[in-house]
């Protein structure tokens, strides 16, 4: 790996993530119909900064964050040893988005694509995953198939590997549940950086095709108070995952990124109810069952 390649990839990655951010925000504003993203540009004292875009209190999106950032400088020693690179010098650039829709029939979605350079090592990471409150099998299947198509264009091994990695990563050990119905997740693709960059661009560009049709067809579903309650309880699991397990959140907080940009991922309204379990046989109970036993969604679940 030549230094010049890595430097060129950093520049192209930054341009790609910013352009993707523009396209996704524009499409989400069209989906929402009323609310607009506000933009906060921020600078990191240690080096770098970001462009945070958040939309709140929309008609369809209760809270949405679509952020890009490039941060670089020196890692704290202890934290540097926990990453896969070498030494304390680092550069990290990427896009990260989380959408929390108002209607519990529309799933929450997360996507993140990043390029990290630490010492002599550089790697891409990221993925996209879907977190429904009410499970429509066809939605999970659609989301997986769009990502599988993006994977298959590059390497037939990608989808099965990254699908399994996604189920493994988005797992709440203390709940014995996955966060949602998964998608794709990758952090060690192999090391052919140009090939990987081509892949993550296709994967990032697939996001709108994967998610918008689901949001469009569920956003006007009638909602009961009990369904809203269930959505808020399940959002609690989202918070638990992000604050206890998520490496991106820990990376952001440890590298002293901008706290409000990192924690934009947390849902707008959340409940914790002691020992709440849905009645057997209900759609709520079926969701929990499925989250305990990942399905092969690309094949139809």
């Amino acid at each position: 790996m030549k230094t010049v390649d890595v430097e060129s990839l950093k520049e192209r990655m930054e341009a790609f993530t910013r352009s993707l951010q523009d396209d996704i925000c524009a499409a989400l504003e069209r989906l929402d119909g009323t609310a607009r993203f506000r933009e906060d540009a921020w600078i990191r004292p240690g080096g770098g900064g970001g462009r945070t875009r958040v939309l709140e209190e929309g008609a369809v999106l209760e809270k949405a964050g679509v952020n890009t950032s490039v941060v670089f400088g020196e890692l704290e020693e202890q934290f540097a040893q926990r990453l896969q690179g070498e030494g304390r010098r680092f550069w990290a650039g990427g896009i990260s988005l989380v959408l929390h829709p108002r209607n519990p029939h529309v799933p929450t979605v997360h996507a993140n694509y990043r390029f990290i350079h630490q010492g002599g090592k550089a790697w891409f990471g990221g993925g996209a995953d879907l977190t429904p409150y009410y499970l429509y099998d066809e939605d999970a299947t659609h989301f997986h198939r769009v990502h599988k198509a993006a994977c298959d264009k590059h390497d037939a091994d990608y989808y099965p590997r990254f699908k399994a990695a996604c189920d493994g990563y988005f797992h709440l050990r203390h709940r014995e549940e996955t966060r949602g119905v998964g998608g794709v997740f990758f952090e060690n693709m192999g090391g052919e950086l140009e090939k990987e960059f081509a892949f993550i661009q296709d994967c990032g560009r697939a996001f709108l095709d994967a998610y918008l049709p689901i949001a469009e067809r569920r956003k006007d579903t009638p909602v009961t108070q009990a369904q809203r309650f269930w959505q808020e309880v399940r959002r609690g699991r989202y918070v638990e995952f992000n604050l206890v397990y998520d490496r991106g959140t820990v990376f952001g907080l440890e590298t002293r990124g901008r706290t409000e940009s990192i924690l934009m991922s947390l849902p707008p309204q959340v409940r914790w109810r002691y020992d709440h379990h849905p009645e057997p046989g209900t759609p709520e109970a079926r969701l929990v069952e499925v989250l305990r036993q990942p399905r092969d969604w690309a094949r139809g679940g």
Copy 2:
């Protein structure tokens, strides 16, 4: 330290925490006036178990948990190395309580007293701390003075040491704020176990005196929607602390304690609003200022 002393302390600690749990639950039911604690006795497959008591949807207490547990067995190797004892054999017994009142003028409160034995080492730990949403200086002062009195009875050094340790421990680095106005926190008292056990009993017995008068005088304060909103936003910080930093929560989840008992500490209804800052000059803004600069509450703040 003789083995027989430690075994006797374990027995007495278990009896003490259960009796304190009974007294505190009875007093809280009287405070609330309407709701009752439900009890869940649970058994830990690896060894031990607990008595979880939770009250929800009360008139005064929106959610309250008062738990005792004794867990023992083998720690996972990696986790064992992060504790102060030696080896993987462990025993841990204690009481842990968190009260989330409905009225934002009544502070949230947490207390925890525990005895841990790992390999050849045994130690007490714990403390109590107050988390107001609206800050009444006299409440913070009262809470500190009651705990100071319990400390002073045993050692003049205790209160200043444990007050400072509390401010240091309940600190959200990513927010540059303490969780609340503190109290006392201790984990390394010195090693005279009988003396320490006498102290933690007095400290635990001080809890009701420290908290009940505050709850009684604030529980009927009129509340606006904006104040409720602020309470829910601040409860978000409580969640962030417990899931990102709290050693008790991590200990519980890592030792495969009962998840619902560990996470009873999480507030019932919570909000995350992007980059929310109170207007300068408001009571909300003053709270945040105080949380950035710990005060000497026992002397009146």
